[in-house]
Symmetry: C2
Subunit: 358 residues, 2 copies
Amino acid sequence: MSQSEFAIIERYFSQAGLAFSKPGIDLGIGDDCALLSVPSGQQLALSMDILHQDVHFPANAEPNDIARRALAVNLSDLAAMGAEPLGFTLGLSLPAVDEHWLDKFSQGLLSSAQDYSCPLIGGDLSQGPLSIVIQVHGLVAQDQAIRRSGAVPGDLIFVTGNLGDAAIALLLMQLDSHISQSVQLNTNQLTAAHRNHFLDAYFDPVPKLEFARSVCRLINSGIDISDGLVGDIGHILKASGVNGRINTASLPLSSAMKQCVNADGQIAAALTGGDDYQLCVTLAADNSEEFRRIANELKVRVNCIGEITALSQSLNDQDSENQGQDSEVSEQLKIFDAAGRQLQNITRPYTHFIKESS
Amino acid sequence: MSQSEFAIIERYFSQAGLAFSKPGIDLGIGDDCALLSVPSGQQLALSMDILHQDVHFPANAEPNDIARRALAVNLSDLAAMGAEPLGFTLGLSLPAVDEHWLDKFSQGLLSSAQDYSCPLIGGDLSQGPLSIVIQVHGLVAQDQAIRRSGAVPGDLIFVTGNLGDAAIALLLMQLDSHISQSVQLNTNQLTAAHRNHFLDAYFDPVPKLEFARSVCRLINSGIDISDGLVGDIGHILKASGVNGRINTASLPLSSAMKQCVNADGQIAAALTGGDDYQLCVTLAADNSEEFRRIANELKVRVNCIGEITALSQSLNDQDSENQGQDSEVSEQLKIFDAAGRQLQNITRPYTHFIKESS
């Protein structure tokens, strides 16, 4: 049966488990606008992400997985600011009505919306090439949001969880990846459990919402790792006007990664793979004990991978000259290996519109 | 020169004229989230619209026009709630980097952002089929927002401006239109000025922001006309639990429409053409004099096209039975012509996923 967008919205997206009410959401789906209330002393944090078929997920991915991932990667941006989820909007484009797909997709959204107390509050539905645009909205105490710009020399650089696993999933799904040249998979070692581990890292990243809110006061700067560690630390360094150094020996790698991927590939995936949706934060060394204690309490694994250093004058000049140029591999970040040698040729982090061959 | 999305955002979308600061926007482009403050006693209104090439605008449309239209149709949703623009987010998908296109597109956005004091505060940029997703954010005094659900029997139904012109533009641009069967263009009469009039109605709709805020207190319900008058009044009737009647003799039509389009085509375009982005509101007859006075003062033309009536019990029952069915041509709306005859076969309003032939 062919259905209009209004019937689809009513059937799949207005259901009580997905578009549930909570304090702060005064009006949800069904009018020209949704209406939110923001309590006095709080700010509204908002972030939007686009996901396209064949760019951000394979065409044959389970709709339930696509939905969960779409909401999680957005919630990860709220986590990076230390904000608490309030609700999300969805811009969904579909080539045609596929009831099975819509049913599974909306069930996936519903389960994540419940998990993170973040209901659907509005959006748009259109005919078009399959894509998902989500905007999340969250609350954070006035002037308490974690920003990229607060890193200071002497800060330690921490990351949560493991890095690089989602990038290996991309290769397993044969999606376009900028690290495919560096990675060799040891297919003899690759069990079904390994495969599931990598795919879970890609499709079901866990936004570190509670953790971020709990350690917010201890942190000077933070970002979520979406484009790859090197590129994302680069954003912190640029916004804060500092340098940084990290050591590849400290990069947190899963046992699946260690067993199934060649050594260079492990480093490439962890440094520039992207899609990790782990947090990268910087904090004063004095706060690190308390930081580790809270992480331990919340069962979030954290690893110190480096430190923030002062910006050298020469780099400062050089940086000004490079403005507007394609300088995603920041000169401000130095990367050392276990033997203390500085790595020179880091794979470019993932960027749209630039291919390795160009 | 190939550029990463970060360089594109910096060059085209972070420019001061587009991403300007204003009170309430505490943090704009450049971090994991934007941060907004909502003053005490106000609510945040938000609305998202998707625009796809070949569905919502022709591939060869001027990027400046695409941008202005994209922001205007979103701002029209804020107008429909009586909200004042605060800022907008942009999810832009591009197949490739086209500097000329980006320059013109960002200039179009900038001019509209300035016109309506609505800066760009964040979003996402991705490689993908050309599409534009905009979410607007506005402020409205607590519990003062115009809703679809407030219409009561006895209310007069008013619309602003002219109806149907944008639908004629779609035909001129040879985009898919559900009214193409009803409309015959009198090409002998169609001057360049007429053509421009229709195209302007499509590409440069003027959101009735100030007007809506000024008449907000006089109005019981409202909606902006995006899918076509019949469908959009239908949303008011459904949300309010009332019936309505309109008279085609009262539909406001431009002189270009009267000169260039056959009589049946005029009615079809005005009733179901869509893309008008005029406001349709209902108000008590006692308020109509004051309403007309304010409209006159703000140079917004308004026309009374009908009235709200009580919901009959039988229709109420019938409606429950039809739930989930495709009932966009609402049984709750009766349409009469100048001679007082009720129209029976109204063209279906525009809906995604349903074609006339199905």
